[in-house]
């Protein structure tokens, strides 16, 4: 009787993933680890691939806690030879981990001082009186910032406290709120996709242009890049907003208001109630302003001060200032650092880096390129296949630079072999360098926003993949329209 009643129970897809996740992950591991090693792969590469495959299933299915899967990755990498113990453990010393730490100190300082709440209330009451408007407003802020602050990571660290506070205004609970999921994942999308519209917004893109110039003799100016790429970037972001609403319809329309008042009035009143800025807020805002200034002038430090301060050091300096007596506003106990997510980030980063370092990522990419007889394809089909590979290759490559180094020369050579304008393939392929939006370890902003706990790996993966498919289709449309108008086709 009991059995028949349980058989009737229908399990949700998410439950099935948790039930079967570990079994599937172990099968993936066993299948890859025990397969005959391909000639072009080392045992190290095979191990790294098996471990990445396994933890990928674990992240998406959440069959075990993500921090546990990260520890599993580190242990297995060391034992199976996927990476050495020294290399795997050293990931905790990577700049991204320090950056996350510093970002959370800054966030805690901004939060404790009250200035983050003031900023968030200001943005929400002026531009984000509804959840949708708040999402668009943050997108626009991101777009504007991408012209001023030439670093995806710095922008992420800068916007994190404001995003956190906006979610507090909306009373969004991490892991439960769809608005929280949308906002945080969209920050990842806006951060990366707006970067693709501006040549100088990340080093990988400048490197890609270097390859194009060196190998084809053709110049790509800052303006050329902007004109060719920004329309696609903006349309992709519109797709992201639409897909986000379809996947995670916001459970709140407006911030919870006081009884008898509209949300706008309520927020306005709350902002007014904060009164004038107090000393703590002023100190926090000065520290934040110094941080933003140093991030925005990254690249000009030598001219300005006679020495360079790296992005991470700026963040650590800001964290230090928040702790200093007289200047700071925070002590260690008041700092909210999500250590479980930091451990996850380290393990996930290790799994991704091992894939790069062992050559497994390159092996996979070469395999994909070899599968297609690219020279025999019609030009449009070739264009679409190259764009697909260029965009989705981020799934196996953690590093943007490595992707540029491996992809760009290969794509230019393919174009030259087929006898088409290399710029037609190489330039749009360069616009995909920042498409690393599907998994947390793929780039630093992803890790920073993931570590807030508002979304799961699966949420990010599904949302990111759908947005990238839209972007890929937009490339197809641009091939017949925008790229013809600007003379690329």
């Amino acid at each position: 009787m009991g059995v028949s009643s349980t058989q009737k129970k229908k399990l949700a897809f998410e439950q099935w993933m948790k039930i079967a996740g570990l079994a599937v992950a172990l099968l993936v591991f066993a299948a890859i680890f025990t397969m005959p090693t391909p000639v072009a792969l080392t045992l190290q590469g095979k191990s790294a691939l098996a471990i990445f495959g396994m933890v990928f299933v674990l992240w998406v299915s959440q069959a075990i806690p993500t921090y546990a899967s990260a520890l599993l990755a580190i242990v297995l990498l060391s034992i199976t030879g996927g990476w050495t113990q020294k290399e795997a453990l050293a990931v905790f010393g990577q700049d991204v981990i320090w950056l996350m730490l510093a970002a959370f100190v800054i966030t805690s300082g901004m939060e404790k001082s009250g200035v983050a709440k003031r900023l968030a209330l200001f943005i929400v009451s002026k531009f984000g009186t509804t959840a949708k408007k708040a999402l668009i407003a943050l997108g626009v802020v991101n777009l504007i910032l991408s012209f001023i602050v030439p670093s995806t990571t710095a922008r992420a660290a800068m916007l994190l406290p404001i995003c956190m506070m906006i979610l507090q205004v909306y009373q969004s609970i991490p892991g439960e709120s769809n608005f929280g999921k949308q906002l945080m994942i969209q920050e990842v999308h806006f951060n990366n996709i707006t970067t693709s519209g501006i040549l100088t917004a990340t080093a990988g893109q400048i490197m890609a242009v270097g390859y194009i110039t060196d190998m084809t003799g053709m110049d790509v100016t800052w303006g050329d890049w902007l004109i060719a790429s920004m329309p696609i970037a903006i349309l992709t972001l519109v797709c992201s907003l639409v897909i986000g609403q379809l996947l995670f319809p916001t459970e709140v329309k407006t911030p919870p208001a006081s009884s008898g008042k509209s949300a706008k009035d309520s927020l306005g009143a709350e902002l007014k109630a904060l009164g004038k800025m107090n000393g703590t807020e002023i100190r926090a805002i000065i520290i934040f302003a110094i941080t933003v200034f140093l991030w925005a002038t990254d690249g000009n430090h030598l001219n300005l001060f006679g020495f360079q301060i790296s992005l991470v050091m700026v963040a650590i300096l800001a964290a230090l200032l928040f702790y200093l007596p007289y200047i700071g506003v925070l002590n260690w106990k008041e700092t909210k650092i999500p250590w479980d997510l930091m451990v996850f980030s380290a393990g996930a980063y290790a799994a991704g880096l091992a894939l790069d370092a062992s050559g497994a990522a390159s092996f996979l990419l070469n395999g994909i390129f070899d599968k297609f007889d690219l020279q025999a394809l019609p030009q449009f089909a070739l264009f679409m296949i190259v764009m697909f590979i260029a965009s989705f290759s981020h799934l196996v490559f953690t590093s943007k630079t490595v992707r540029v180094v491996i992809l760009l020369p290969a794509i230019i050579l393919i174009a030259q072999k087929v006898g088409i304008n290399p710029m037609l393939l190489a330039l749009p392929a360069s616009f995909t360098i920042c498409d690393s939006i599907t998994l947390p370890p793929h780039c630093k902003p992803n890790l920073i926003f993931y570590s807030t706990g508002y979304f799961t790996v699966k949420d990010q993966f599904v949302y990111g993949m759908l947005v990238l498919v839209c972007k890929w289709l937009l490339f197809g449309v641009a091939y017949f329209t925008w790229f013809r108008i600007i003379g690329l086709v």
Binding site: I19, L22, V39, T42, G81, T84, Q85
Partner: protein, 237 residues
């Protein structure tokens, strides 16, 4: 008398220093230099060297004795007048050389050598994991001219697999290959005079059927147990 002895020693030293440039001027062009190591037994290897280029004024093509204890076995090629490789020393560096028929024309030397003890390498473990055999081979271009394309491939005994290539460290900079069931690692690059190329990698036995079955049993066992346990719990909830 003392001054004369000092002068003679000084002159001898000067001459010995000049010996290198003498050879340097004689070797004109080395377009490619290929080395392929294959195992003969558990410890000894065979080295096949192919050198393509133009001999210098001295009329010889040179093979650098880069591997310790290498002994010539055979030589063939194009545009050669000699039939045997002759051991040759220039300062402290050792070579094998063979005369060419027309020094102005391109010549090819295809020589094989026995390299005793080449594969007699020790096993070493990293802090964790299994012990691997570690092999390192350094080739220094002791020819006075640049080698247009130097390439090396070291095959390991059948049943062994390349575990990790640490020098060169980037995947794009090394090559993995297979020859008659033997796995190999190698790389290629241009080598300026006096420049060196180091190939370092570890290799080990391919996993046997028993260990593979064990991994499957373990993974399937844990997977199936957890699956049914969670399924039951989910149904009860």
């Amino acid at each position: 008398m003392k001054k004369i002895i000092v002068a003679i020693i000084a002159a001898a030293m000067m001459l010995s220093l000049l010996a290198v440039p003498v050879m340097a001027e004689e070797v004109i062009n080395v377009a490619s230099y290929t080395e392929v190591f294959t195992p003969v037994n558990e410890s000894d290897g065979q080295l096949a060297v192919t050198v393509k280029g133009t001999a210098g004024a001295d009329g010889y093509m040179y093979v650098i004795a880069a591997a310790k204890g290498m002994e010539p076995v055979s030589v063939a090629g194009e545009n050669l007048s000699g039939t045997e490789l002759e051991a040759y020393k220039n300062g402290s560096e050792s070579y094998f050389r063979i005369a060419v028929a027309d020094p102005a024309a391109e010549a090819t030397v295809e020589a094989t050598f026995n390299v005793p003890g080449f594969y007699a390498v020790s096993r070493a473990a990293d802090t964790n994991g299994a012990e691997d055999y570690s092999l390192s081979y350094k080739f220094t271009n002791y020819l006075p001219s640049k080698i247009g394309k130097y390439s090396v491939m070291v095959y390991v005994p059948e049943g062994m697999e390349i575990a990790k290539v640490s020098s060169p460290s980037k995947y794009a900079d090394y090559k993995l290959a297979e020859l008659d069931g033997m796995r190999g690692a190698g790389n290629e690059k241009a080598l300026a005079a006096a420049a060196a190329n180091t190939l370092t990698f570890t290799f080990d036995k391919a996993a046997g059927a028993v260990s593979n079955i064990l991994i499957w049993v373990l993974c399937l066992g844990i997977g199936v147990l957890v699956f049914f346990d969670r399924y039951k719990k989910a149904m009860k909830e």
